[in-house]
């Protein structure tokens, strides 16, 4: 097979997002051995972003360098992606499944009249068609989808694929103008507030999440959870008992009425494991529970458990993590 794979680049001032490097790795695999990986980058620093990807193995680049692309909403890139996919004769378009990728996926698929799938954790060619796998129901099940019709656009779940090894390959970058027009959007960006999330990874796409529950007993004690999270470079989550009590904002809530998270590692501290909490985190790859009640349901879904007093365990664990990461 010799498919053409188009990779849509998300970048900040020309530095590709980690999710884009992950998608590049898959793109290269899907394009090999005889296909092409083409990148599409938009914005005034598109050239720099494309060059960064050329260095890791993209064959050629399509650039939309008008500064108007810098401030337009991701959804406005849908037509550009479609026009470029047509011009390149692409079979597959890949995007990292970040807020950027998720906001443009459906629009690009509609404009390109393609099949779409999001949250994908595996993708391969089977019998000449693209087959993807994705966790559904908060990771409680896995769905396999066949994308038919020769045009597929896929958003990848962040952290599901290893980023392309930057030393692996070298192709020639040959930037060329896209056939898309300037962005048409009625939306105007008026400001940006680097949020608490800029201090660490955001809950929804963190590789590690440390969550605390009622067992912490007070908003002050909840700081113990935050210290462990900081030591691990993790995002902080909470059970509803914590957010309802106002110890921490509702944006941290994990579960049925909060966020669904599927990190590589989920650490539940002083959380009993009510079903409404579990549905938001059972899709995590490895689960650790710390609780002084050996019959707490959280131990049934956990891989590793420490039965003990969190007020003793947490400080020791934070210290040990710091030591291990420093050494």
């Amino acid at each position: 097979m010799s498919p053409t794979v188009l990779l849509v680049v998300e970048h900040l001032d020309g530095v590709p997002a980690p999710a884009t490097l992950e998608a590049a790795g898959l793109g290269k695999a899907l394009a090999s051995p005889q296909g092409r990986l083409v990148v599409l980058a938009a914005g005034s620093s598109a050239r720099k972003a494309a060059e960064a990807l050329a260095a890791v193995g993209a064959g050629s680049a399509r650039l939309a360098e008008e500064p108007a692309w810098d401030l337009c909403p991701p959804s406005a890139l849908g037509s550009l992606v479609a026009a470029t996919a047509r011009a390149e004769g692409a079979e597959v378009v890949l995007i990292g499944g970040t807020c950027f990728g998720r906001d443009l996926l459906g629009g690009a698929a509609a404009a390109w009249e393609a099949a779409a799938a999001a949250g994908v954790t595996e993708a391969s060619w089977e019998d000449g068609g693209l087959v993807v796998r994705r966790p559904v129901f908060g990771g409680r099940a896995t769905e396999t989808r066949r994308l038919e019709g020769g045009r597929a656009i896929v958003a990848l779940r962040p952290h599901a694929f290893p980023p392309l090894d930057t030393t692996a390959a070298s192709f020639e970058a040959s930037p060329s103008p896209p056939s898309g027009a300037a962005p048409a959007s009625t939306l105007r960006r008026t400001g940006f507030e680097p949020g608490a999330s800029s201090a660490g990874p955001s809950l929804s796409d963190a590789a590690i999440v440390v969550s605390g529950g009622r067992g912490l007993r007070s908003p002050e004690n909840f700081g113990l959870v935050e210290e462990l999270a900081a030591a691990l470079g993790a995002a902080v989550g909470a059970s509803r008992a914590v957010t309802d009590a106002g110890w921490r904002p509702g944006t941290l809530q994990v579960g049925q009425t909060g966020k669904t998270v599927t990190p590589q590692l989920y650490v539940a501290v002083g959380i009993s494991g009510a079903i409404q909490h579990l549905v938001g985190m059972v899709g995590s790859r490895v689960i650790v529970a710390i609780n002084n009640d050996p019959s707490a349901p959280i131990f049934r879904v956990a891989d590793y458990g420490i039965v003990g007093d969190l007020f003793e365990i947490l400080p020791a664990l934070t210290a040990e993590v710091r030591k291990a990461r420093a050494g």
Binding site: D103, G106, A110, A114, V136, S197, G233
Partner: protein
């Protein structure tokens, strides 16, 4: 203001998941369907905007098998939505081709006037989050997802809202009509009162036949549905001191599970 909310029936959170007989999807027999969580927020936000900007109406739309959709449409009416439309489409388990759903909804809305179209950021079952942005492209209106704090300025006819992304919060402004994938309403969704629930049982539901809109050359078909082997329970660490517990855990995460950063 004319507000439209598109909602999806999803299996209730407590539902026991099983694969269907042919293994291609979820067995829906005996499963209770409810409003998706983010859709409840979208309805709440629509009602809050309606209350803040009279006279406004809220129309709610749902595409899929009739029985299931009627259930959630009535729930929406009971919460205070004014009109409900069932967009009939033959196939589809809960995990249908999202682009087909978008085309069906677009067919039902094409040529209709609205100022705001709300969808939940994503549904709790398939978690695609594709329908909103696809629908916006098909209808030719502006779109943003991950939206919080959605406000309408009647004087200028503009919406102002926040979009929470990985690095922080973006502030945006857009004129009507606008399509929004909602992350969070101003407050938690309300619950319906009994008289309203009883009244909703008798309210009319409009019907729109979208079966023909669902066909397309490129489509995404469910091929298999698998439940993971149930977790067998935690490996409990033996320890004599908190330090030992911490050391054992870090070692296990690093050497065994290979998830230590």
């Amino acid at each position: 203001m004319e507000i439209v909310v598109a909602v999806k029936p999803v299996p209730e959170a407590e539902a026991r998941l099983r694969a269907s007989a042919d293994g291609s999807g979820l067995e829906t027999d005996g499963v209770k369907f409810v409003l998706a969580g983010y859709d409840e927020s979208a309805i709440e936000q629509a009602l809050l905007l309606k209350e803040a900007h009279p006279p406004s109406t809220v129309q709610v739309l749902s595409l899929g098998p009739a029985a299931r959709c009627e259930e959630v449409l009535r729930a929406a009416l009971a919460l205070g939505c004014d009109r409900a439309t069932l967009v009939e489409a033959a196939p589809s388990g809960p995990l249908a081709d999202p682009m087909g759903v978008a085309r069906g909804l677009a067919a039902a809305l094409r040529g209709k006037k609205f100022d705001l179209l709300l969808v939940g950021k994503q549904a709790g079952d398939d978690e695609e989050g594709v329908v909103g942005s696809a629908l916006a492209q098909l209808l030719g209106v502006g779109y943003a997802g991950f939206v919080t704090d959605l406000r309408f300025d009647a004087a200028s006819g503009h919406f102002r809202f926040r979009r929470t992304v990985e690095r922080g919060t973006e502030l945006w402004e857009a004129p009507v009509p606008l399509l929004v994938g909602l992350q969070q309403a101003w407050n938690d969704p309300r619950t319906a009162k009994l008289p309203a629930i009883l009244r909703s049982r008798k309210q009319p539901i409009e019907r729109f036949d979208a079966a023909s809109a669902l066909e397309a050359a490129a489509r995404s078909l469910g091929a298999a549905f698998a439940l993971p082997a149930p977790r067998t329970g935690a490996k409990l660490l033996d320890y004599r001191s908190p330090q030992e517990a911490a050391e054992k855990l870090v070692r296990a995460l690093r050497e065994e599970a290979k998830v230590f950063p």
